[in-house]
Symmetry: C2
């Protein structure tokens, strides 16, 4: 039908003619290597610090486009430009990845954050597929192994919680480990990959999933129970919904229809819970008991939450045919495209207040880079295109 | 004139008939000791964790009221109730203060935050004035000495910044040290007190003050220069204005008219810069170069910012007669009283969105307790009363 064709075109064009060129034009630091990510409305650099999360994610994005969309030499060159900077400056002596560097690569913030390592693994894993450079593959593999060793105490000496008083485990790591093991599947034993997937599905869908509310918790006790504390009550709807498309991909890989249906149900329950019926859009943080959350930014509307939700809804619709997914897709699509893209200067705003007005007029910062928007646009384009072709 | 009399009455009544009774009724944990601070709109407890900042600040508030307003036994009893809990459970083996405890006093978060120690010093120092208990005095003194030893590396092992790459010093510690040395003046050598005051005035008014903008920076390089980084560009207007009333008190103590006038000028320049001309109220965080700040909550209107500003403006008016201070006082007073107090359930909301609507319907939480509102109401009452009497 004409609708899916129009949507397909929109997501493809935004990716290839707007978002990717924006980062190619504005973010590449020709002087010191790596990428600028703190870009204002027009793409001007307003801060030159280099955050490992965002350096690595941009390497991943350009490598992924090269691998999946077209073998364009400018994309590969951009990916290698970032990888060279990361390889040269990104690691501490023990091989763990710093959190941030100065423009010229001097370390600023210690490797306290294991997600720096996760995104470095993704970056070098995806780039190793695009090149035949064994050094990139080795960096990915060694970093992944180090993550597995650190997983039980990811914050190490920087952990401020006192061990034992209220042990909690967090949703992010099992979720990302599963994604990572697929990203570098070509470098790992098949058995390790399948075992990691088993664990991930169990953790996400049995341990962090709360059958009573139908929602995914951000933190639970080591044996999977509810903790009546700020951390234990925390809900991060965008995070839960993003996880559901990872799960849907795994369910497809394993041809597990029940798992697919469960992921769709969790997605729709989360949307019902977290959709702002007054102003539209999805809340950023909520408290499962309805108490005030700690996060002052709880009611803001964030770009990644909405982009990831679009991906999940399209996959849910594609894989199960559930019409409610399509209805929600159109609602979230309308909100997202009315609020986030900047038609004048290109790319997307990241942070809106509850009412949907721009809160910070930036295209990139400490946490927003060249990742969720292009990955989401690519995923939506891919799914929409196969829906269109199947008609 | 009738105006100052009406204002005096308002601030006094809010303190004695609304705010203090609210905390006496709702926050005292008769079972396990200490105070509940996570109180919803009606005063119901929604979380039982005990944060050392807020435990100590509440001890300070009740002790201060006992010392300054009236020797009421229920106030002293409340202060001792909190102090007993703190004394029993609050410290790690090395005498530094944890950040938070469970309801029954088990340590939850490590002593990474030196302000826990600062507020403990204030609490036990003020309580030692109310009682003749030498143990309280010793706790205050020993904690203060430990703060002085830790001041060059306050975060210790939990510091995530890499030493040397971009050293910065923060405004909060010199400011609070000065206030602390006055709080426990009765326990310290006179010379140490005067030396600490000298250092504080120099740091705040010469080092952190930027003569070009007329504003106070939150972070500067060790030699007092601007750092063009997120931290270096950060402005916290409420913090700067709060510091100005500490400085005004010091200027009065030293009979230093030029210092008084400078503190008034900084207050008024900060108000001009940080007042939200669209919706009213003072912004929480700003970037000195006009770039997007890191803090997503930058545009919110916080209770303590407005309460502290009222104190500073009244002191500025009282001590210099500058009419602009009075005009601003009336404007900030009108905003504050229209938005923060809850006439139905009592006490004040803490967090409003930019538009002035309640963002979190709480009276207390992890950071809001029994401190800024009662201290501010008391200070305003005191100043208004002396303005009234002088007429």
């Amino acid at each position: 039908m004409i609708i899916t064709q129009t949507y397909t075109q929109l997501y493809r064009d935004a990716l290839l003619n707007d978002v990717i060129p924006f980062w190619q034009i504005h973010s590449i630091d020709q002087q010191d290597g790596g990428f600028f990510t703190c870009l204002d409305q027009q793409g001007n650099v307003y801060d030159t610090d280099k955050f490992i999360w965002l350096q690595a994610r941009q390497v991943w994005t350009f490598s992924m486009l090269y691998n999946k969309v077209e073998q364009r030499s400018d994309w590969l060159k951009a990916a290698q430009h970032g990888a060279d900077f990361l390889k040269k400056y990104g690691r501490a002596d023990d091989g763990s990845w710093y959190f941030s560097l100065t423009r010229d690569g001097r370390p600023l913030v210690q490797p306290y954050n294991i997600f720096s390592d996760c995104f470095a693994t993704m970056a070098f894993g995806q780039l190793s597929l695009a090149t035949v450079n064994d050094e990139y593959a080795q960096i990915a593999k060694l970093t992944f192994e180090q993550i597995l060793r650190r997983r039980d105490n990811p914050k190490g000496q920087w952990n401020k919680a006192i061990a034992g008083t209220r042990p909690l485990k967090n949703f992010a790591l099992p979720m990302i480990l599963c994604n990572l093991s697929l990203e570098i599947e070509h470098l790992l034993d098949r058995q390790l990959v399948e075992q990691t997937i088993d664990e991930c599905i169990h953790e996400v869908m049995d341990v962090f999933y709360d059958p009573e509310s139908g929602l995914i918790r951000e933190n639970v006790t080591p044996d999977g129970q509810f903790s009546d504390s700020y951390e234990g009550r925390l809900l991060n709807p965008g995070h839960a919904i993003e996880a559901m498309w990872f799960i849907m991909d795994l369910a497809t890989r394993r041809n597990d229809r029940a798992l697919l249906e469960k992921a769709v149900r969790i997605t729709l329950d989360t949307l019902d819970y977290a959709w702002d019926t007054q102003y539209g859009g999805l809340f950023y943080f909520m408290d499962s008991q309805g108490h005030p959350p700690q996060q002052l930014e709880w009611d803001q509307k964030l770009w990644w939450v909405h982009v990831e939700t679009l991906v999940t809804l399209l996959k849910g619709y594609q894989k199960t045919g559930n019409q409610v997914c399509w209805t929600w897709f159109e609602r979230v699509h309308a909100y997202t495209w009315a609020h986030f893209p900047d038609p004048i200067n290109g790319e997307w705003y990241g942070y809106l207040n509850r009412q949907g007005d721009v809160l910070l007029p930036l295209k990139g910062g400490k946490w927003k880079g060249c990742f969720h928007v292009p990955r989401g646009l690519y995923q939506c384009w891919l799914t929409l295109n196969s829906l269109y072709l199947a008609e």
